[in-house]
Symmetry: C2
Subunit: 351 residues, 2 copies
């Protein structure tokens, strides 16, 4: 456990019985943290919600969660000092992380593959005791959805669903302009929606999850399976010489150069992405589907065909209502969403 | 089109600038209507939200939608007269119906199989012009979800998803204690969530929809396919003598008597129902899943095994949060939900 020095922050005046218009602006600067598998991003937002400082440093997950958390805490202290702020002036700290997050308790319950020892880690309590600041923990894709809604492509939209297309597949849901977290913070696990019940088994216990069919890992695994079946491809050498490793960029390049195997693999992923979009449209009737993540750039070969399918198949009523668009904030979506969540929670507490 | 005699209802006082506590009770009696494929139910609820009169009569969908609507309107007039009410005293009329409903415009956009000519029918405008009462149109499963939330098993629950298990599969979603309708009223089409992408093609244009694998129609179709393959079963005679018709009760009875084919068919449906539950749990992290409809009674052979699977597979965080329970209001869930929706909308208008 990290060494704790507790700074009990004074709470803002609650404004009870005070005329609304005369009430002091309850907004405060907030800290946002996004813990990824390889990188951590921390950021300071001012009372107006503007990003005023940002740091990026390696996660080094192999060092164990206590080391990771200690380095984050030290970085946050530095970020505050560089901006002449005391922890007591900060309204909230919000941490976005992968894995199963219990937002109500502020705990990382089940680890993600990239943070394997993060099991029942009481992140919120650890930061609260260290800085004396109310701390919240969010699933990273949920944070990205809120980020795009408040600062990105989803501004002004009532109902929005975000899908992150990367090594894995994450999801976040905005209902009526608010982040929807479900009973405990576990809502939006769209990557673990079964779309092919007799498909490959997933680490989550489920079969045929969207993530097992569309993610970067799935595309790589599927390519290697085909190559091991002896199918002809310009990628054969990669498997022979490259320790059985073929990357998504390799596969995409091969497909664009006319490699049949690579084209089939990408077409299959695009088909399943289309199924995912259709399900989201039929279930949520959203105004907007936002796709982000490392593979969001693959418009011609992955997202484009999936999107075309999704706008043709679902109920006409729902298909007519939806636009499917690329995210705007790139890998900063998480800190923007974390900051927005912290601001909201702080306002709710001081109202 | 129905002959229209317009009674322009006086709106309730808006209470602008009036002290909340002194304001006249804005609640009014409401009319609720549920249009099913074979039966129509109409009901009058008093200002306190209590059911005080109810009628049931056959839909006779084959007569065409204009005839159906005319008979509903006449019944509503009778219901009001029997209770000494003028239309002007009614706060809202809410109609629950199958098919693709645009709640925003109050239009049945796409017909359900049972009401084949209900295409772009402006139900709300027709009733508004006839009775002078604000009229709303809802998907029937959404209405059932709201009914169970306000009057049934879901009282006091924040996040709830309802699944109707009948000839088809419908869905309704309660988020934060409110009915979630999406951009236009099309949210909650859980029966048209693909769970087996290479499964049978559905009339909706999609493949492997939950409805194509779990509904009463799916169970019957699947049984007949097996029988036509020449598999041994006590049901063989049904197909030979009964014009190729095997009903769900026949199949269930055969399965309970040890018929292998019937048991396999039911086990398959239960497996897919389990997949549907898992998806709902992973997507919504709900507190409660409510199942209703004609097949909700099949606890031992359909819902039980599906439920067991659903509580074992999903993310532990989400599985821990959920209870899966049978609906309480039977075939009255729709009118209860329609009444609750009308009351809410009336209160919102007069606030």
């Amino acid at each position: 456990m990290i060494s704790s020095f507790s700074l009990l922050a004074g709470r803002g005046t609650r404004g009870k019985g005070v005329d609304n218009k005369k009430m002091k602006n309850p907004n405060r600067p907030v800290i946002a943290i996004d813990i990824g598998g390889t990188k951590i991003m921390t950021a300071l937002f001012d009372a107006a919600g503007k990003l005023i400082g940002r740091d990026v440093f390696p996660t080094l997950a192999a060092n164990g969660f206590e080391d990771v958390i200690e380095r984050i805490a030290q970085n946050v202290q530095g970020l505050l000092q560089r901006n002449s702020l005391e922890p007591a002036q900060v309204g909230a700290i919000t941490i976005a992380a992968a894995g199963g997050i219990d937002t109500g308790r502020g705990v990382v319950v089940t680890p993600s593959p990239h943070l394997p020892d993060w099991k029942e880690v009481p992140l919120a309590a650890m930061f609260k005791s260290r800085f004396g600041v109310d701390t919240y923990v969010l699933n990273d894709a949920s944070a990205a959805a809120l980020g795009e809604h408040r600062y990105g492509i989803g501004r002004g939209v009532k109902h929005l669903v975000l899908l992150t297309l990367g090594t894995g597949i994450g999801g976040g849901i905005i209902i009526d302009g608010e982040l929807y977290l479900g009973a405990a913070g576990g809502a939006g696990e769209l990557g673990h929606m079964t779309i092919e019940a007799h498909g490959p088994r997933c680490g989550c216990g489920n079969t045929g999850c969207l993530e097992m069919l569309v993610s970067g890992s799935a595309i790589e695994r599927n390519t290697i399976e085909h190559l091991h079946n002896g199918e002809a491809s310009t990628l054969v050498d990669k498997v022979k010489t490259g320790n059985n490793i073929v990357s998504v960029p390799d596969i995409v390049a091969a497909a664009r150069s006319g490699d049949k195997l690579a084209q089939d693999v990408m077409a299959r992923a695009a088909f399943y992405l289309g199924v995912g979009f259709v399900n989201i449209i039929n279930i949520f009737n959203p105004e907007l589907i936002v796709y982000g993540g490392g593979m969001a750039e693959l418009g011609d070969i992955l997202v484009g065909p999936g999107k075309k399918m999704a706008l043709e198949i679902p109920f006409s009523l729902n298909a007519r209502a939806v636009r499917i668009v690329q995210a705007q904030l790139g890998n900063e979506a998480g800190i923007y969403g974390a900051a927005a969540f912290g601001r909201d929670m702080h306002l709710r507490r001081t109202r």
